[in-house]
Symmetry: C2
Subunit: 219 residues, 2 copies
DNA sequence: CGCCTTGACATTGTCAACAATCATTTCGAC
DNA sequence: GTCGAAATGATTGTTGACAATGTCAAGGCG
């Protein structure tokens, strides 16, 4: 009957709800509530929670239920570092695989980034940033890396917007992306790896600064 | 009552059973059978299967049950590549973090590897190889990378032994490990990354060769 | 006043029965 | 003999009830 509401994968919908911020970190995830919310039964919620735990979005304690995983600052940095290693590899692949058509798309995205920065629209910048990384991932055609990166990203989306707020970070980030795209368009595998690696090291460093700043600010 | 048999995490035991080869790739995993085998109920088996699917060890089709994931040759190469990116990063970390005590352990492991190669004992070699990589991972102290690598490894253990059988591969592999350990002991981060990266590119290449050989051999 | 025990409530964990689906076999028509 | 349709069996999917556990508040005791 209501194949519509229940047909979609419960895990996917719960994941989306967590990633989109519908639930706060450390918020309790009560099985019957979720079942009601997602128009399904406890069993499905239960397996969804088990999967999302494996995925690092949810934490479960025996007999004490599930919570949205609170990603600590250290975790966020670790995740960004690992992303860096993977994305550098992926950028290298993209440099080897990209066709002229791909080059055009990448350049268009960088151009849009530049406009966003000049307009001071950091939210738009953040979005395009995501699109650019996604495009590079698409060009690389590497399922294993793609899955892992999607996973890692879902764990740190909450942190994404923060580091770009650092004064001067957006301009430097733009410059880094320009170099990455230039390397890919030049089919220079090693430069692409190097530039992407440098970019995510810089991103991790920016994240660390923001975190340190917030720590001292709170105390 | 039988807290012993059921107490342990069902997912962990099923994972172990799959990784250790107790079940063959593509072998059907029937819920009631597993429940009997693991001395538990269908519910627990069900959630275990859901988690292992997320982990990439199991494939499930709606209404058609679960099977051990058959990792294709392409998958195996992809996984080895991604491992390479991660392990290179981890080796760099290890180079930065390793203490003299760690250096001793690493050198001892390489020494054991050398002996295994000279004795022609490739099974022992394979084991020590695993220990060495695990030791480097321990030194690096990076939970996120450690978890991902554990995951990836469990997907390709079945392929591990094959590539080392290539004529001359074991000696070269030994040399590569010596260089990696030398770089870590010299606290040379970049050399450690570079050497580990090269090592796993070589491993991926060896794997590719073995696969090509087996393809033509079968046809 | 603080601390421990007790009990009620909320939530998760386990189980068995039933429904739905898929694979296989049987049977009849041509 | 071959094709297709219906019956059969095996397996997964779903549901509800119950047990086990944890949480919290109230009350008694030192």
């Amino acid at each position: 009957m209501n194949a519509r509401s229940d047909g979609k994968d419960v895990t996917a919908r719960l994941r989306e709800a967590i990633v989109s911020g519908h639930f706060q970190p450390s918020e309790r995830l009560i099985e019957v509530e979720l079942a009601g919310l997602l128009a399904t039964n406890r069993t499905n919620v239960r397996t969804a929670l088990a999967q999302l735990e494996q995925e690092g979005l949810v934490v479960r304690e025996a007999n004490r239920g599930a919570r949205v995983r609170l990603v600590s600052h250290e975790d966020a940095i670790e995740i960004t570092q690992v992303r860096g290693a993977l994305e550098a590899f992926v950028a290298g692949l993209a440099a080897a695989r990209a066709r002229p058509q791909d080059h055009r798309r990448l350049r268009a995205l960088v151009e849009a980034m530049r406009e966003a920065v000049e307009a001071g629209d950091l939210i738009a910048y953040s979005k395009i940033n995501g699109s650019l990384h996604a495009e590079i991932l698409r060009i690389a055609q590497h399922r294993t890396a793609a899955k892992l990166l999607a996973n890692l990203n879902s764990q740190v989306v909450r942190f994404q917007y923060r580091s770009i707020l650092l004064p001067g970070r957006s301009r430097r980030s733009l410059a880094e992306h320009e170099e990455i795209v230039a390397a890919i368009c030049a089919a220079d595998v090693e430069a692409a790896e190097r530039n992407m690696g440098a970019h995510l090291r810089a991103a991790a460093e920016a994240l660390r600064q923001v975190i340190e700043a917030s720590k001292t600010a709170i105390v």
